[in-house]
């Protein structure tokens, strides 16, 4: 599973960077996030209730930040464990570039794998579901940072 995308966020880069390191903002932007705890500067633990179609499973998510270059980029290591549902592992590279008029261009690329039952039953849907979750996350981030954002625009898949 691999995908990438970009979002233009109408606030300055330092603000976007701060949000991407803020467990409160992250929790608000992850759909179904029930808890988010900061274990160390570079480590977070979250509980996420994922709802994709008929699937409603709770996952423990461990997030570790590496290759941190404030305020430009980091690599997010994600480990997902669902009790009976299976597991997943992924790497997300996130880069922020200053764009025109104090806006910020966020680029991301994600590569990951899933295993266990999630992979068996969901193989044909994993890519679409992952894309939707990434889109939902960045749309929510966009909205969290810019409440005046046109909701219609952020609701469209990029």
């Amino acid at each position: 599973m691999e995908q990438s995308g970009e979002h233009l966020i109408p606030v300055e880069r330092a603000t976007v960077w701060r949000s991407l390191n803020d467990p409160v903002v992250l929790a608000r932007c992850i759909s179904g996030c029930q808890s988010m705890e900061q274990l160390a500067d570079d480590r977070f633990a979250a509980t996420v209730k994922a709802r994709v179609g008929p699937v409603r499973a709770t996952f423990e998510v461990a997030l570790t930040l590496t290759d941190i270059h404030p305020p430009e980029s980091y690599v997010l290591q994600v480990e997902v464990k669902g009790k009976a549902a299976g597991f997943g592992k992924g790497l997300a590279e996130v880069a922020l570039a200053e764009a025109e008029d104090g806006t910020t261009l966020l680029r991301y690329s994600v590569a990951g794998r899933v295993g266990g039952k999630l992979a068996q039953i969901g193989a044909r849907l994993i890519d679409s579901a992952a894309r939707k979750m990434a889109d939902d996350f960045f749309s929510a981030l966009h909205e969290a940072l810019d409440p005046a954002a046109d909701r219609q625009q952020s609701a469209n898949p990029s």
């Binding site: 008929p54 699937v55 009976a84 039952k117 039953i121 044909r124 579901a129």
Partner: protein, 266 residues
């Protein structure tokens, strides 16, 4: 499976009330998506509300240019219905091509549409045949129904009661089935309403959609060649282990052309 409460209400109002009063409820219709998900422990609803007892949701009727199918009507019943076969043969054929005999004998049109699997067959017909989805509380036009991957305009406790399809002058459904599941890798329905053509596409993106440029091209000239250069729908094409996005792009045009060719040669 985890323990859960099983309910079998006999009225629609009772079903909705049960849903509203339960902690983490799910409506059960054919169960061919929900039950495997539960046995895999990818879902564990606290309450299953079986809609099978709602006889008001079963039945097929043709009236004044509209084909009405009750939400709990099984795929096999649609396929075998002489009313559907004579009023809208393309829909009978579509139903006959869903999954396998077990799926067709259990699966229902309402269940399929409420689930809105991106590769389900009925959504292409709902869009191409300008259907109206009736629920326990309102009527939803096809064009406003499909919202995204497994997302529809339905509220959590809303129940589809029936689907009204507009009967076209002619229509055909062509799909490229996955050889194992017979889900539509891509499926396209072309429906001609006295020269105004609607094209519904399923399997290609996160949810079913219409192909606007195909519709315009076929309304101007009903010929497979009219689609050679027509623009594809602006969607994020699915890519999975069965087919790449590029392949699905290719299939949308080919399936639409095959459906058109079948109708043009009649």
């Amino acid at each position: 499976m985890h323990p859960f409460n099983y309910h079998k209400p006999s009225t629609l109002a009772e079903a909705v009330a049960l849903h509203q009063g339960a902690e983490d409820p799910a409506y059960l219709s054919g169960g061919h998506t929900l039950l495997p998900t539960m046995t895999q422990r990818l879902a564990a609803p606290s309450d299953l509300i079986d809609l099978e007892g709602l006889t008001e949701l079963i039945g097929i009727a043709v009236d004044n240019g509209t084909l009405s199918i009750g939400a709990f009507t099984r795929h096999a019943e649609v396929a075998a219905s002489t009313e559907v076969q004579s009023a809208l043969p393309a829909l009978a054929e579509l139903a006959e091509g869903i999954g396998d005999a077990q799926v067709r004998n259990r699966g229902t049109i309402g269940g399929s549409l409420a689930n809105s699997d991106p590769a389900a067959d009925y959504p292409a017909a709902v869009l191409a045949l300008n259907a109206v989805i009736h629920t326990d509380r309102r009527q939803i036009p096809a064009d406003g129904y499909f919202r995204g991957l497994f997302e529809t305009a339905l509220e959590a406790d809303e129940v589809i009661t029936r689907v009204d399809f507009a009967i076209p002058s002619r229509a055909a459904y062509e799909k490229f089935p996955n050889p194992a599941s017979r889900y539509a890798t891509v499926g396209v329905m072309v429906a001609d309403f006295n020269g105004t053509v609607r094209v519904g596409v399923t399997g290609a993106g996160p949810c079913a959609c219409r192909a606007d440029a195909f519709e315009a091209a076929l309304s101007a000239r009903f010929d497979p060649a009219a689609l050679d250069d027509a623009e594809l729908p602006a969607i994020d094409f699915n890519s999975d282990l069965h087919a790449s996005a590029e392949y699905r792009v290719h299939l949308v045009r080919v399936m639409a052309q095959r459906a058109t060719a079948r109708l043009a040669s009649l």
